[in-house]
């Protein structure tokens, strides 16, 4: 880099061991801060020397707190589920003697320097169940570098794409390259990114805007947060390249209010990038100037929609407006505006560096590159996975995800959040790409991947999403405002055992009406969870409506408080917990509930680990 300035960050000495703690939100939530405290304390107590660094999310969230140790000349070892009690031993043996503590270690990896010596008997990171089959292109730095250090980003090839673009490519050449790569928007709709940039570039105006959608409103998605917390410079670099391509004069990153750490990181990232001349006036002496500002969201799902987001930046109620005009022509403050998602931007420097032809080879015919999913719910290896488009649902759930915990059975996966659908077991082998998902009744959405097992009631799940949409509907257009509320009423009635035969048909009809009549994507896609559950789990609706039973015994109003003797293990947990002593039974006899005494408090149901009470 040309204008390298000396900077407060002292260069770490390669001869000092390093302790790297995962300090993204997931790490902090699992207790990273107390682990850090104990590391500092123990180093002092054992009179050891080591550099303490922090990093972002490496995707293995189920194993947080994660602590990595690099001993000079050896591989980087990852310790998982680290508790403060484990710290003294790790420091004593690994920092003190250079020996990895194998019983706590979950993996090791080579550094950029491949000559380091590995430890025997520790699996390599890429060979772990969760990581095999993944292609960590966009997540390559997450959980590896210190996100607050621009030097570490640069050392791994950061800002090389920007330099190349500014020095050797015209804006049109950049757009052509992105178009040729086949990149499509990762924020939901999958609109071709190059095409969007081209249509924005063609409008001339005194001011033009590039916007980054970091609203990540889909409950159950955290890829964008992980990227912002783990590799913020990559997102910024992509955004600056986009700005150059469309001739933007300034840009905004719209971050949701629930992500305070991401906001903090981004502020620092912008400052650092400006200090090094990657952002601001006359970037890398190319003559191109761009300022980027952060706007914090204020807690509204609909603000992820492009026109609502623009209204929110303008300081108004975040409501969508009718289109046309499209934002690329008249968006923020009526100026040409290009909005892309966090992950979309993170793909950009990668494509420029690797070349569109290389990128085009990854994925399926119409969906190129990789997609990051947040794997959550009833899944063993909850966390982040990055897979090539076209990977099957089965590979993600059973290979990388490690399957369903507690020996339960897979029932469905909700892809695309409240705008998506629940896909059943019969679709486990369908590939994940934009078209296949829409065909199956779900959508790519932003990348939430919530797995549910056979204890989850799909009617209640549909009700949950409808409740979300009804709450988040901005109220501007009646089909969405009233339609979602009416559908919610019907679904609630069904879960209360007051469903009527005609309800399913009414729900189907309303789904179609709301879809075509709503103003924005929120209403247009709100019926999707209902439609997909009606399509794949109709028998559960029938059970609720006709037989007044909930097959998974989730819907409390439908509980009959009867014990299924075949399922009862005679553990007597229900008997001990019943406040009115209505349950009898023994180690040899299955429990029996006395209906006359029972007050339907539901405690026995909650305490039973074997679903023997329905």
């Amino acid at each position: 880099m040309t204008n390298e300035t000396m900077h407060q960050q002292q260069k770490p000495n390669p001869q000092t061991p390093k302790i790297i703690i995962g300090m993204a939100s997931c790490g902090l939530g699992a207790g990273a801060r107390s682990v850090l405290k104990s590391v500092v304390h123990e180093l002092e107590k054992q009179k050891l020397e080591a550099d303490i660094l922090s990093t972002g999310c490496i995707g293995m969230c189920a194993h947080e707190v994660l602590v990595d140790v690099i001993f000079p000349g050896r591989t980087r070892v990852t310790y998982g589920n680290v508790k403060t009690t484990m710290v003294p031993q790790i420091l004593e043996e690994h920092i003190g003697k250079g020996e990895a503590v194998k019983k706590f270690g979950i993996a090791q990896m080579y550094l950029d320097d491949k000559t380091v010596i590995p430890y025997e008997g520790l699996p390599f990171f890429d060979e772990m169940e969760m990581n095999k089959g993944q292609k960590k292109y966009i997540l390559r730095n997450c959980g590896y570098i210190d996100p607050d250090s621009i030097d570490e980003y640069i050392a791994r090839g950061g800002y090389a794409a920007l330099e190349k673009v500014l020095k050797a490519m015209t804006p049109k050449a950049v757009i052509d390259e992105i178009s040729k790569s086949g990149l499509r928007g990762r924020g939901g709709g999958g609109f071709p990114t190059g095409e969007k940039w081209a249509s924005c570039a063609k409008y001339a105006a005194d001011e033009k805007f590039v916007l980054c959608n970091a609203d990540e409103g889909d409950p159950g998605a955290f890829m964008d947060r992980s990227l912002l917390e783990g590799d913020p410079h990559a997102v910024l670099e992509g955004m600056i390249i986009a700005g150059y391509a469309i001739h933007a004069t300034s840009g905004y990153i719209y971050v949701r209010a629930e992500y305070p750490l991401a906001v903090k990181r981004l502020k620092h990232t912008i400052e650092e990038a400006k200090k090094r001349g990657f952002l601001g006036q006359n970037i890398l002496k190319s003559g191109y100037s761009l300022e980027i500002y952060i706007k914090e969201g204020a807690g509204a799902f609909v603000c992820g929609e492009s026109t609502a987001l623009q209204n929110s930046i303008e300081g108004k109620r975040g409501m969508p407006r009718t289109r046309p005009p499209q934002s690329v022509e008249a968006g923020l403050w009526d100026k040409p505006t290009c909005l892309n998602n966090v992950e979309t931007f993170a793909n950009v420097p990668f494509i420029i560096n690797k070349g569109a032809d290389w990128y085009f080879k990854i994925g399926t015919e119409h969906s190129k590159g990789t997609k990051i999913f947040s794997l959550t719910g009833k899944i063993k290896n909850a966390g982040l996975v990055e897979v090539p488009m076209g990977t099957t649902i089965r590979q993600i759930v059973f290979d990388m995800g490690g399957g369903i915990p507690k020996k339960r059975k897979f029932k469905a996966v909700q892809i695309g959040g409240p705008s998506g659908g629940s896909l059943p077991e019969s679709l486990l082998d369908s590939p994940i790409d934009y078209e296949s998902l829409v065909g199956a009744g779900a959508m790519m959405g932003s990348g939430s991947f919530v797995v549910v097992d056979d204890t989850t009631c799909m009617v209640e799940m549909a009700r949950f999403f409808m409740n979300f949409c009804a709450n988040e509907s901005c109220g501007k257009c009646p089909p969405c405002r009233i339609g979602t509320t009416l559908m919610l009423d019907i679904l609630t009635r069904i879960t209360l055992g007051q469903g009527e035969e005609k309800d399913m048909e009414v729900l189907e009809q309303m789904s179609d009406e709301i879809k075509v009549m709503s103003l924005c994507g929120l209403g247009q896609s709100a019926p999707n969870p209902v439609k997909s559950t009606l399509r794949y789990f109709r028998d559960e609706y029938v059970a609720h409506i006709r037989d007044k039973t909930c097959p998974t015994a989730t819907c409390v109003a439908l509980h009959k408080y009867e014990v299924t003797p075949e399922k009862c293990t005679k553990c007597q947990a229900c008997i001990r917990n019943c406040p009115v002593k209505a349950i009898s039974g023994s180690t040899t006899e299955a429990a029996v509930i006395n209906k006359e005494k029972c007050i339907k408090c539901n405690l026995c149901y909650e305490k039973c680990n074997f679903l023997a009470i329905k």
């Binding site: 997931c26 969230c61 409103g217 998605a221 209010a257 108004k316 959550t376 919530v450 949950f464």
Partner: protein, 162 residues
């Protein structure tokens, strides 16, 4: 926290001076007010109206659109229990019920001693630790109805979150 005391406007004068001519400044200003006072006090709204040349209706209309802004005083600590999909599937409802029982308040309310306000949010982005809650700016994960009472107790005793 300024609850019964009169509201000190002097801090806001400076802030508003800075934002007076900026575009789209209402939401950032409201965010500063919310952070400073814990809610949007009426006199401050009046001041904003005057300095930014906006009607009170426009300001309150915008403020009430967003979940982040509150027109009434809030507790010292804000507990946001996640009820997003991942947390829902992992039993967030029971955790919420337990907290609500422990604090003797329902969602959206503040405890009598003014220590806690209980809120529901949809996703804190820590879904892999579900069920999750955020106390002020700290995330607490892998909660269970049996243990969440202790977490609250610790915070109450420490006076600050972990």
């Amino acid at each position: 926290m300024n609850t019964n005391k009169t509201v000190d406007l002097s801090k806001m004068e400076q802030v508003l001076e800075k934002y007076k001519n900026a575009r789209g400044s209402l939401i950032p200003v409201l965010q500063i007010v919310q952070a400073e006072y814990g809610y949007l006090p009426e006199p401050v709204i009046g001041l904003i109206s005057e300095k930014l040349h906006m009607s009170i209706h426009e300001i309150v209309g915008t403020a009430t659109f967003y979940a982040q802004f509150h027109l009434k005083p809030r507790g010292e600590h804000i507990i946001k229990v996640c009820c997003g999909t991942a947390c829902h599937v992992k039993g967030a409802k029971k955790v919420l019920e337990k907290i609500s029982e422990t604090l003797e308040v329902s969602t959206g309310m503040t405890t009598k001693d003014n220590a806690f306000t209980l809120d529901e949010v949809a996703c804190l982005g820590a879904c892999s630790l579900a069920p999750v809650m955020m106390v002020d700016e700290d995330i607490h994960g892998k909660l269970a109805p049996d243990t969440v009472g202790n977490v609250i107790k610790e915070i109450r005793e420490a006076g600050v979150s972990r």
